[in-house]
């Protein structure tokens, strides 16, 4: 511990992690426009370093609480904080060149965008803080507060372009998620109320204490509360049939925000599910069956919707719907390996889909805002680095080696097999074929063949910060594919601590 110096103090690390992006958000407005992007990137980089130090500390010294147990930095929290910080850093780097370069042919839209840029940068940093809070909080009611705060911080980012479509997407996003997550509020309050007579009013708030009184909570309350949490968190995670907001929000948001939405925002609700499911899942097998069925339905619905899309971002958005189904299926198996597989898939898909949305943004950036597959083509020669990164992302999404998608999907299929859930296993394999089908279609229609629109011949590779960010994510998916054991210290620790069969 002494090697970490002042960082060794238990509370200092998570508090610094929450504080750095928040402080940078507060400072953004005080700086010259040219320095704002630099502060955003520097703040994100510092947050990433802190998250890495925190992950190292958990790996070597084990989980630790902070603020009297209000925050709990265990394997799950440390891993996801690192993931959030990594994707946020890649997004900030990409955005440094992407956002100022948008709408270069339309002076009015460009002027409006430049005016709103500080708001975007500040809100993105606040969003990062709220996401880190979600993964590290150990308070059942503040978990809900933090998750709702992520929605609030991201609503204006979704509607950033300020045109009618973006405003519609932002309004629907905020309305649907606020309404949906109200059911999770009841779930959190019911669990607190049921645990309170056994633990006292303060201890009952702590999720880590729930396990000790799980047997004393009336079964009907445990079931109702967990289902309410599934509806609320499932809406935020984009599980079908609560997914209608997903494609609109992803399609109308700037690419950086779409990457963060798909990579991180739809993943953090699973933190709540992972924590609560491991408490009640083993006691009530019907909960596991429900989650697995919902996951299988999501896989099929998302896959079918993705195959029918022509808009590149909408296709990737529905693909994300399908992919969160894999996480639900793995978690629904109810055993330790399933929990590990869910966590591995979550990390892999976060990296992969953030990469693919940034690639889609790069394609639109270089091809004059074109996103329709029918109007693209032949971009591999003109955008070689973007094509390389998108290719890595598509291979990972399809579950092909040597990328992280391969061990991730293999893990989910194995977890389903271990539970003898043969039908669900068949569905996951069939859904993988869907993924492969639309992956090949994207590669063919965007990057291969001949250009299908005038002006595509003049498309040029995107600026360096954008492709560096994409390369970072591509390298991470490759590294995790070649050495999946890299996640073991944190993901394995998280899975082992759940006391699952």
């Amino acid at each position: 511990m002494s090697g970490f110096g002042w960082m060794g103090s238990a509370a200092a690390l998570p508090l610094s992690l929450l504080g750095v992006p928040l402080l940078c958000a507060a400072l953004i407005g005080l700086l010259r426009p040219a320095a704002r992007a630099g502060l955003w990137v520097a703040g994100s980089a510092l947050t990433l370093v802190l998250a890495a130090v925190q992950a190292a500390r958990v790996t070597w010294s084990g989980p630790f609480p902070a603020l009297g147990g209000e925050l709990l930095v265990d394997g799950l929290a440390a891993l996801l904080a690192l993931l959030i910080a990594f994707v946020a850093f890649a997004c900030s780097l990409y955005a440094a060149a992407y956002l100022p370069g948008l709408h270069s042919g339309d002076p009015d839209r460009r002027a409006a965008l430049v005016r709103r840029l500080p708001l975007f940068q500040a809100l993105f940093l606040i969003l990062e803080t709220t996401l880190l809070w979600v993964v590290m909080t150990n308070n059942i009611v503040l978990l809900w507060v933090a998750l709702e705060a992520t929605t609030l911080a991201s609503a204006l980012l979704v509607s950033f372009y300020g045109d009618a479509r973006a405003l519609e997407a932002g309004f629907k996003y905020l309305l649907l998620l606020t309404v949906g997550i109200t059911s999770a509020f009841f779930g959190c309050v019911l669990l607190y109320a049921a645990a309170q007579p056994h633990l006292g009013s303060e201890s009952a708030l702590l999720i880590s204490n729930l396990r000790t009184v799980a047997g004393a909570i009336p079964p009907h309350i445990a079931l109702i509360a967990t289902v309410l949490l599934l509806i609320g968190f499932g809406t935020k995670a984009g599980l079908a049939p609560f997914h209608p907001w997903v494609a609109d929000a992803h399609a109308e948001a700037p690419a950086v925000m779409s990457a963060f939405l798909s990579g991180i925002i739809i993943k953090v609700p699973f933190v709540g599910l992972l924590r609560v499911w491991s408490v009640f899942g083993p006691r009530y097998p019907e909960l596991n069956d429900t989650l697995m069925a919902l996951g299988a339905f999501t896989l099929v619905a998302g896959g079918i919707l993705a195959v029918t899309q022509d808009d590149l971002k909408r296709l990737f958005a529905y693909s994300s719907v399908a992919q969160v189904g894999f996480i639900a299926v793995a978690l629904g198996t109810g055993h330790e390996f399933g929990y590990y597989a869910a966590l591995f898939f979550l990390v892999s898909h976060a990296l992969t889909k953030a990469l693919l949305f940034l690639s889609a943004g790069a394609v639109a950036f270089a091809a004059r805002d074109r996103r329709s597959l029918a109007t693209l083509g032949g971009l591999a020669r003109r955008l070689p680095v973007t094509a390389l990164c998108a290719g890595a992302g598509l291979c990972s999404l399809a579950g092909l080696p040597p990328f992280s998608g391969f061990p991730a999907k293999f893990g989910v299929v194995l977890a389903a097999a271990e539970s003898r859930a043969w039908v669900v296993m068949a569905v996951t394999l069939a859904a993988s074929l869907f993924t492969m089908a639309y992956g090949v279609r994207v590669a063919q229609q965007v990057f291969l063949g001949a250009p299908r629109s005038p002006g595509l011949e003049e498309a040029r590779e995107v600026p360096a910060p954008m492709w560096v960010a994409m390369l970072m994510l591509a390298a991470a998916t490759l590294l995790l594919g070649l050495a999946p054991g890299l996640l073991d210290p944190l993901a394995g620790l998280a899975a082992r601590m759940q006391g699952l069969p």
Binding site: E148, R165, A169, L205
Partner: protein, 217 residues
Amino acid sequence: MEGVIRTLSLTLILTSFVVVEVRSLRRALLAYMAQALVMVAVIACFAAYHPALWIWAATAFVTKFALISWMLARALGGDDRECAPRVGSLASGVIVAVLAATVYSLLHHSASFLAPTPLAEQEPFRTNVAVSLTLLFVGLYAIVTRRDAVKVVLGVCLMENGAHLSLVSLAATLRETVLIGVATDVVVAVYLLLALARAIERHLGDRDTSRLVTLRG
């Protein structure tokens, strides 16, 4: 005290009916403000059982009666007439009345269904939980059937009132930092929804959410 709480709780259902059904947005706002005040009174009555609830009563007064009402009043501007809802007035009135009566009576008679502790099955807590969920469903009905963006936001406010009212019975001992966190989320959500609704009105010329059909999920 139980009689007072029961009367006030039923007044909450009546005010939610008025918020949803009256076509004048100013009157709907006045009904919402009345509901916020009654809610504060209900929480204050429950403070006789749990003194910690005084803080929740004060928080509800500041956030629901003062802040949210002020934001809604600003959003109304000079236009008082609600866009025509998806369901006609008579039919909607009947639906809301039947919905509220059904939810309330079902939950009041089967309090054990949602009561995490034996105490929550007793009066006045069982009435409180039944009223909370009734407000929640009436709010949800408003969100689904109303086309005017301000009325939709009022529906969200009714839902949130229902959710927060349940804390009186289910989580009376929550500490103030948590309560303030919960209340702040709602104030910010309403602020952002109204800001987006105003921006949409500037683009489309009115607050009719049924015109938001460019994107279809």
